[in-house]
């Protein structure tokens, strides 16, 4: 337990020193601001581009506050996910490869403490990142359009964080299992292709972790809460736990792979 805390402090310090605790929230703030502002100023942007023939009218679709959150969810699902996978795919494998793990591994430190400490700080960053996006997006949605149901936004945030935790925990497990490049590839393919596949042919099955973000979007749209939501949540949480166990096991098993 004490080693876990000491290592958490180390992780935290690293996040401070490489500015990750500043840039990551800022990037996700940007991600959240972008869509509401773009929608709101779309008219002006089109006008300022100025190539439109006279008399041509562009009718913007009627959008409301909740559409902004939906749109931001799309950003998180693409750019957000890629950023998280990219920065955490080397979590375990990186220290193994560059040899910094070696001097840890010769000490009485459990693989569980090593893996969980890194994961804890990463999970925190994930929740903070998603929070920043949702906050920025909903702030602008409320200011520009108004009439946001904050309760739904909060539920959306929680569900979306769980989903993103699935992503990063799996990425962590892959990082423990194999090399950085392979971990990144597997995670990107699984989550990007997986999400697309589920969106395309997902109607053929009821339960899938990939449906969690779309359920979250449904909720913020004010649609009926799908029956399968609970089950999906449970599947996601089970996946997180499974990835944690796999990650710890692989961290331990691959200790001998460390560069001496």
């Amino acid at each position: 337990m004490r080693n876990y805390i000491v290592l958490c402090q180390k992780e935290w310090r690293e996040h401070v020193r490489n500015y990750r605790i500043i840039w990551l929230p800022l990037v996700f703030l940007l991600l959240g601001m972008m869509d509401p502002l773009t929608y709101y100023f779309m008219d002006d942007i089109l006008k300022s581009v100025g190539n439109l023939p006279d008399g041509m009218q562009i009718t913007m679709p009627d959008v409301g506050a909740s559409d902004m959150i939906v749109s931001t969810a799309g950003q998180l699902q693409s750019i957000g996910m890629v950023i998280f996978i990219a920065i955490y795919c080397s979590a375990i494998s990186g220290e193994r490869k560059n040899g910094t793990a070696t001097l840890l591994y010769v000490r009485p430190v459990s693989s569980r403490a090593i893996f969980l400490s890194k994961w804890t700080v990463a999970a925190m960053m994930t929740c903070v990142g998603v929070f920043c996006s949702v906050l920025a997006s909903s702030y602008y949605a409320e200011v520009l359009y108004g009439g946001l149901n904050w309760q739904d936004v909060i539920v959306f945030y929680i569900l979306y964080s769980v989903w993103m935790l699935v992503v990063i925990t799996f990425t962590f497990a892959m990082s423990a299992l194999t090399t950085t490049a392979i971990a990144a590839t597997i995670s990107l393919i699984l989550f990007v292709i997986g999400s697309m596949a589920d969106a395309l042919i997902g109607t053929y099955w009821t339960y899938s972790p990939f449906k969690l973000p779309s359920y979250a979007v449904d909720i913020v749209r004010g649609a009926e809460v799908p029956d399968a939501l609970w089950m999906t949540c449970m599947i996601c949480i089970a996946l997180i736990l499974l990835s944690l166990v796999l990650g710890i096991y692989c961290t331990h098993k691959n200790r001998q792979q460390t560069t001496v």
Partner: protein, 65 residues
């Protein structure tokens, strides 16, 4: 297109956040020992590629040790 104070206030945070990001990226670039690719290239990317530049730098540019 006239820019009203109101509009300015709305989009100000966007620029502020971008500028902070850019400054942090440049600070980090100055300090960090190794980057993927030459440093001057990253300076250009950070400064001239709006929004995406600093993100690219932090995610793939810096070599963590």
């Amino acid at each position: 297109m006239e820019i009203s104070t109101e509009t300015l206030l709305l989009i100000a945070p966007l620029f502020i956040v971008q500028i902070i990001l850019m400054v942090i990226a440049l600070l980090d670039l100055r300090k960090v020992a190794a980057t993927r690719g030459p440093k001057w290239m990253w300076v250009l990317i950070i400064v001239f590629i709006n929004m995406v530049g600093p993100i690219l730098y932090f995610v793939i540019g810096r070599k963590a040790v």
